[in-house]
């Protein structure tokens, strides 16, 4: 089975070496953290930026923003007194959501200073059932093998224990009164065929008792007894001693789902019916048949029992009030969600002060949006929507950062392209409006873009504002603006239009109009291609291809070809049989893209490194047949040595779009050390039972440029390949620590005379092997992903960003991980001049280099970086359970004034000099005069 395939397109002899510019500065720079008083103010609130020259200004604040998610709930319990609903989700989260607005962060209302008891706890293992009693919550973790008792006000753990049950066991838990007399309510657990009673204070076992006849059943309790209820039997256990009395019952088949006790009866809904059983009788009674497949929990409110079931577009609530069964139809009033099917719902019933009956329905829709509807049903039966959470954001399959268009460029496009809807007058008015804004911007000295960014999304002068496009596993597209961290548009594609979402590609960048994105989804039968405008989600075009999608490749284009394709990237799909399908965007004829691919046939290379395989294969584009291109295998590299089985666990590629400012490192003696800049290079990591192998392979020839084995190490391996260096992390089993290793490649020799003429192009066929330097360091924390900063021109020294298992992002300058760091005793003055630090195996943990500051960004799966308009700064996006966006300056913001730039001192100095000048004019005149009088 194909788990993940990685492939890439290469053009041998095609990539020009980038121009030689200013070498990266080698000065030692430490990052200066953010001032605490800046963060205490609401971060990301927009403030004006004072422009000094075209790209200079003052950064007045930090701009990091988090979107916190909980995941899709599997269990939910309402607590109206605490104004919260507790949810246990499939993202291993237990959270208290505010009933008022669905928030999980504490909110303080200024006049009342009221703190809502909302919180979130994230576990490493899956969370399960949730039971509430009084002020405590019981949560089962890891398939019932662990129990956590939590305080429901702040979500802190009171105690936790291992139940000792196996994962196949059926488990159920319930709270009882205080049995052991310590004033705290105790807890009963059914684990397989064993019932245990535990103290509520510390979880210590009071008694345990075995029941007969296999597993299953629901555990429930009244004041004197504990009951295990099955469809054919009821076991009554004495609450003090655990003595079992067994009796057989009739009237119901199948399993007994969770339920509750009301009026000495146990109520449960199963198989589309509402059942109850009197605890002292031997007969199930059937109360009502529930219409609809999606049935909610059985809600017990005093003597009343409620259960909801979805029937077509409405929800039927069956209620048993004082023994009388009745039904009521309600409609979840929402403007969008009506067309989206409901997945799950949780019901709560309450009485208003006026004595009316109100309901709360927590509904989870197929697009993974979570909404609370509540209130007294209106005459039409509709319930008001209180809030909505986009929980699809916790499960993004793929995401990209898209630049927003420059307003001036955009306005010009509007005029020149003549956007169809706008007439001549409107176009002129729009232009006048834009120019007025420019004027206002100039006069006020701020970025006036804010004032009408609500109309259309535009970038800011610094380029910090971006658009994040993400696709969730359920197939919902999101467009998120980073400055407000709000979802500005979303589109649920549904299983019809989109199978399993795989990849998102920016096809046309925002510097061209209109920008375009491509989403590739696939299932067993077909591949879906969804083209859309990333700025607003419009122009959605869906195409289907009857192929089984494996991976896409991007074909590098010349300027003429780019123009032919309307400034779009040429994407080709590779299917399971390694056939290549060239894609044509909706506006481009298929012949053009085919012609480009044909012209590029012999020099386009791609390769496949499949996860859990131990061979890498390289291909080139072959003959064109009717609707696709065949591919020809050029090389194959079996990985592993001495017959040991090694499996591919990770792969990393050079990002060919990144600018390289310098092709050499300038050494302390003014010599230059040329970098080995092979853009056909890729890295593959393999794992065997005891070691990790790292291979650097040339994608054109398949030759292993360098390989290294780390003995007694284990994964997960995270890699990043940038310019001429590779960084990878792993866990060292011999010393039990996290380690990071850096491999840097340099040219053995390079004829500098030829650099400007012929050698600006790189040929994988004619290049000598590089010289390799490597160093390893000890990391202070575990790592879940690594990346490197990207800047516009690549001049700024790189910074490595490590997403840690402690939910933070740690930044290290590249000079921390430099394999040229000499041993302490051998350091020379030349090394010092170059800015090399003596080698120290331990990387320091400095809180001031944590770019998430005091916040936690939960369960980061990947971090991505993107350049801003400022050379010093790049923006960072971390995606996991939460979404986090910030910016980082690896070598301080050298092209903008410091946030605490001392304007007062500047004015004082200028003023002082002015006074001194005036004074000296007078003084010199006086002196001249007195000299003449002499």
């Amino acid at each position: 089975m194909v788990v993940k395939i990685v492939s890439h397109a290469y053009c041998a002899r095609m990539f020009p070496r980038t121009s030689y510019g200013i070498p990266g500065t080698s000065e030692i720079r430490t990052r200066i953290g953010l001032q605490s008083d800046t963060t205490n103010k609401s971060p990301w609130r927009r403030r004006s930026i004072v422009p000094l020259g075209c790209m200079h200004g003052v950064l007045k604040e930090n701009s990091s923003k988090t979107i916190q998610n909980v995941g899709t709930p599997s269990n939910a319990i309402f607590h109206p007194q605490k104004r919260a609903v507790y949810v246990s989700t499939d993202s291993n989260v237990l959270a208290a959501l505010s009933l008022k607005n669905g928030d999980i962060s504490e909110i303080i209302y200024p006049p009342l200073i009221l703190i809502l008891s909302v919180w979130r706890r994230v576990f490493d293992l899956p969370t399960g059932r949730l039971i509430q009693k009084g002020n405590v919550l019981l949560l089962t973790v890891n398939l019932g093998r662990e129990l956590y008792l939590l305080d429901n006000t702040e979500g802190s753990v009171l105690w936790n224990l291992a139940t000792g049950s196996s994962p196949t066991h059926h488990t159920d838990h319930t709270f009882l009164g205080d049995i052991d007399g310590d004033g705290i309510e105790d807890l009963a657990s059914l684990l397989g065929d064993v019932v245990q009673l535990r103290s509520g204070r510390d979880g210590n076992l009071v008694w345990k008792s075995q029941i007969q006849g296999g597993e299953g059943g629901s555990l429930t309790a009244d004041a004197t007894s504990l009951y295990v209820i099955r469809s054919d039997r009821v076991f009554k256990l004495d609450i003090k001693s655990g003595q079992v009395v067994e009796s057989s019952v009739e009237g119901k088949k199948g399993k007994v789902e969770a339920g509750g006790i009301s009026q000495q009866q146990f109520w449960t809904a199963e198989g589309g019916r509402l059942y109850s059983i009197k605890l002292d009788s031997k007969q199930w009674s059937n109360h009502a048949s529930l219409k609809g497949e999606k049935v909610s929990n059985v809600e017990i409110n005093g003597n009343n029992v409620f259960v909801a079931a979805q029937a077509e577009n409405q929800i039927q609530i069956t209620s048993v009030i004082d023994g009388q069964t009745s039904t009521e139809n309600i409609v979840l009033s929402s403007n969008v969600s009506t067309t989206i099917p409901l997945n799950k719902m949780f019901l709560n019933a309450y009485n208003t002060k006026e004595g009316k009956r109100g309901y709360r329905v927590l509904a989870l829709f197929s697009d993974e949006s979570l909404a609370l509807f509540s209130g007294v049903p209106k005459e039409s039966g509709s319930l008001e929507k209180q809030w909505n959470r986009e929980e699809g954001l916790s499960q993004l399959n793929s995401h990209v950062i898209v630049d927003l268009p420059d307003i001036h460029v955009y306005t010009r496009y509007m005029r020149e392209v003549g956007e169809t809807q706008d007439g001549l007058l409107q176009g002129w008015l729009h232009r006048v409006h834009a120019q007025m804004t420019q004027l206002r911007e100039f006069v006020s000295g701020g970025n006036g873009v804010d004032s009408y960014s609500e109309v259309r999304p535009y970038t800011d002068p610094m380029g910090f504002r971006k658009m994040i496009i993400g696709v969730s596993r359920a197939g919902k597209l999101f467009g998120i603006q980073t400055d407000s961290s709000t979802v500005v548009w979303s589109n649920y594609l549904g299983p019809e239009r989109c199978g399993q979402p795989k990849d998102l590609v920016v096809v046309r960048k925002s510097s061209h109009f209109p920008p375009s994105c491509l989403l590739i989804c696939s299932n067993e039968k077909k591949t879906d291609l969804i083209w859309f405008n990333p700025l607003d989600g419009t122009n959605l075009t869906v195409q289907h291809l009857p192929i089984h999608y494996k991976r896409y490749i991007t074909i590098p284009l010349s300027v003429v070809e780019e123009e032919k394709l309307g400034d779009q990237r040429l994407i080709s799909l590779i299917d399971d049989d390694n056939r290549i399908h060239s894609l044509s965007p909706p506006s481009v004829k298929r012949d053009i893209s085919d012609a480009v691919l044909t012209s590029r046939r012999p020099i386009t290379f791609w390769h496949v490194a499949e996860l859990n395989e131990s061979i890498v294969r390289g291909y080139t584009v072959g003959q064109q047949t009717r609707d696709h291109f065949e591919s020809e295998e050029v090389w194959s590299v079996p990985l592993g040595s001495h017959g040991k089985s090694e499996k591919i666990v990770s792969a990393a590629y050079v990002d060919v779009d990144n600018a390289i400012a310098s092709a050499a490192r300038i050494l302390g003696n003014r010599d230059a050390l040329p970098k080995y800049l092979n853009r056909n290079l890729f890295a593959v990591a393999t794992e065997s039972s005891t070691s990790i192998g790292i291979y650097l392979i040339d994608g054109v020839t398949g030759s292993i440029v360098h390989s290294t084995v780390v003995p007694s190490a284990t994964g997960p391996v995270h890699m990043k390949l940038v310019e001429n260096w590779l960084v990878f992390t792993y866990f060292n089993l011999r010393h039990n620590r996290h380690e990071v290793s850096v491999v840097e490649l340099f040219e053995q020799k390079l004829d500098w005379k030829e650099v400007d003429s012929n050698r600006t192009k790189f040929s994988s066929y004619q290049h000598a092997k590089p010289a390799v330097l490597q160093q390893t360091y000890i990391l202070p924390v575990g790592i879940s992903d690594i990346t490197s900063t990207i800047t516009v021109k690549g001049i700024t020294p790189k910074q490595l960003l490590f997403a840690t298992t402690s939910d933070q992002i740690l930044a290290y300058g590249k000079n921390f991980l430099d394999p040229r760091r000499p041993p302490k005793e051998k350091i020379t003055p030349e090394d010092r001049e170059e800015g090399l630090w003596p080698y120290d195996p331990a990387l320091p943990f400095s809180p001031r280099s944590v770019i998430t500051y005091h916040r936690q960004v939960k369960k980061i799966k990947s971090i991505t970086t993107h350049p801003s308009n400022l050379e010093s700064t790049s923006v960072v996006l971390a995606v996991g359970l939460d979404l986090f966006f910030t910016r980082t300056a690896a070598a301080n913001s050298f092209d903008v004034l410091n946030p605490d730039f001392n304007f007062f001192a500047l004015i004082l100095t200028t003023g002082g000099l002015l006074v001194a000048t005036v004074f000296s004019i007078f003084a010199s005149r006086k002196a001249d005069l007195s000299r003449l009088w002499k």
Binding site: D37, N160, A162, A672, S806, D807, H854, F904
Partner: protein
């Protein structure tokens, strides 16, 4: 083969009360060849990790507010534990464990306020000050010298200038870059 083993310990912090730990998200992880175990810290600062298989582990406390040391835990087949800290695993810590935070994590640099002294300490300011001072002081010194000494000083300078004409070479790039 899994030994039921409970690692009980208390997490303590430097200054504040233990309740401070419970209200924050503190996750404790054991990482080793046999797998990863984790738990959340309790309200009173204690924690327990159960069912740990024998083997060697790295013990990490992930907390945002406080910095804790990394520990190494070895669990023997008989269920005995050896907890140590430091790179060379020499300092053994008795069980039950009491882990004290090394300090509070300070994520922010203090903001620099405006001071006249800091302005005057600026190297440019110092240079300016010295130059201004010299323009005032030097004529005074020259004036205080007698004429003979002054002439000698000026004459000596002139002679030296005649003997040694100034030689100044413009800085060049190293031939390694230009020639090779």
């Amino acid at each position: 083969m899994r030994f039921c083993l409970v690692l009980l310990a208390i997490l303590s912090i430097v200054t504040a009360e233990p309740s401070e730990i419970g209200s924050n998200d503190v996750t404790l992880r054991l990482r080793g060849q046999k797998g990863t175990y984790s738990t959340l810290c309790r309200k009173d600062g204690s924690f327990a990790i159960s069912d740990v298989a024998p083997g060697a582990y790295l013990f990490e406390v992930s907390s945002t507010d406080l910095i804790y040391p990394q520990l190494r835990v070895e669990v023997s087949g008989k269920g005995q534990m050896r907890i140590s800290r430091g790179e060379d695993n020499t300092q053994t810590i008795p069980h039950p464990l009491r882990i004290t935070a090394e300090g509070r994590a300070d994520y922010f640099t203090p903001r620099e306020g405006f001071e006249v002294m800091s302005l005057l300490k600026n190297p440019m300011m110092l240079m300016m000050g010295v130059t201004l001072g010299m323009t005032w002081v030097v004529p005074k010194i020259m004036g205080s010298l007698d004429e003979e000494a002054l002439e000698e000083l000026q004459g000596g300078a002139n002679r030296q200038q005649l003997e040694e004409p100034p030689t100044w070479e413009p800085p060049t790039l190293r031939p390694t870059i230009t020639n090779h």
